[in-house]
Symmetry: C2
Subunit: 213 residues, 2 copies
């Protein structure tokens, strides 16, 4: 690669970062999650039958992710929660993301963990239309996090895996600490919190929060 | 009153304040409220029958306040919430304190207000064992607040009505802003938050929070 190509590459990076900066007013839109389930192919089959395909009803903001028509029942030793939405597409491992308040109802304490970090998390029973399974681990309360592209990360001055705080304005405002940055180019800029976290600070789907350190 | 009496009075104040300071390690225990109802005498009669008396099952931490055996159903235009606990004793006016998440279920937006500040708040239907009523106003989400004695207030360096922030430690910690100090000598030191606020920050009944400004 000649000097000119190297210079052009550098110039393109500068232009891209400058575009990211232009879009970055310091705020991040919120995505509010209710309890939901991700299923592996094998668990989908066990719960809904051989060859069953999930039915997309709505695209989510993260690229390729969608809400499905299908729901299931999540059962713990103390109680059950019905109509828990399945999100597609299928994943390598099943994962059940509940609210802290659901732990009391189910009778299980789920730890706050990032999606995919399931080692040592509690198991749980799932009941579908054609069967039920007990997954040995996979029950979590989703740890608050911010999805963004690598360019967004440069623009915000943060790196993948970093813990930041977010400031929420308004009469019921405040600060949530320990929000993990998840920066990769399969992401779209959004701060993911659950319904209890949203309700406690009066956040709604059109709200924005500000990253602070 | 002679000089000696005046001096003694002053000394007693100093001793009292010094005792309050000794007890004050800068933290405040939390009291976590689920949705609940306070009833006027007239509304209690309309819902449970003539001459009905509430049945205390448990004293609450605030002096003279208690949870009752009785529950009722709260009905909005979109849905109903059953088994909402009544707190005693009866008050001058009925008041229904719900969670933000309950607003979606009921189909009514309740404002965050301090207990007793009911002017302009939405009405709601209550259903008891012997009748139902529509109260013209009184539906609120309780604004977070801290009960304390006047001596506690001196010890913390705050005054009645002041808005402070509270800091919550732990992996799901953060800061809640705009917590109102309610200082009077019928109070016991406690930061009142609701279940969604508690769950969002992993607070439990034995948790303590720190007042910051």
């Amino acid at each position: 690669m000649g000097k000119y190509d190297a210079f052009l590459g550098l110039l393109m990076d500068v232009v891209k970062n400058s575009e990211a900066s232009k879009q970055n007013d310091g705020t991040v839109p919120v995505g509010i999650s209710n309890r939901h389930v991700h299923l592996s192919e094998a668990d989908l089959t066990a719960l809904f039958g051989e060859g069953y395909q999930l039915t997309k009803i709505k695209d989510l903001s993260q690229p390729g992710q969608y809400a499905c028509k299908e729901t299931l029942t999540v059962c713990g030793p103390k109680g059950a929660i019905e109509k828990v939405r399945i999100l597609g597409p299928v994943r390598n491992r099943s994962q059940v993301e509940i609210l802290k308040g659901d732990c009391f109802k189910l009778g299980i304490t789920a730890p706050a963990k990032l999606s995919g970090d399931l080692c040592g998390t509690p198991g749980i029973t799932l009941v579908g239309s054609k069967g039920s399974i007990f997954i040995a681990e996979g029950l979590i309360v989703a740890q608050r996090h911010i999805h963004m592209t690598s360019e967004d990360a440069i623009s915000f001055g943060v790196i993948n895996g970093q813990a930041v705080s977010i400031q929420i304005d308004g009469p019921r405002g405040g600060i949530y600490k320990n929000i993990i940055i998840r920066a990769n180019n399969a992401s779209s800029l959004e701060c993911h919190i659950d319904m209890e976290e949203a309700n406690a600070m009066d956040l709604v789907p059109t709200s924005k929060v500000t990253i602070i350190r």
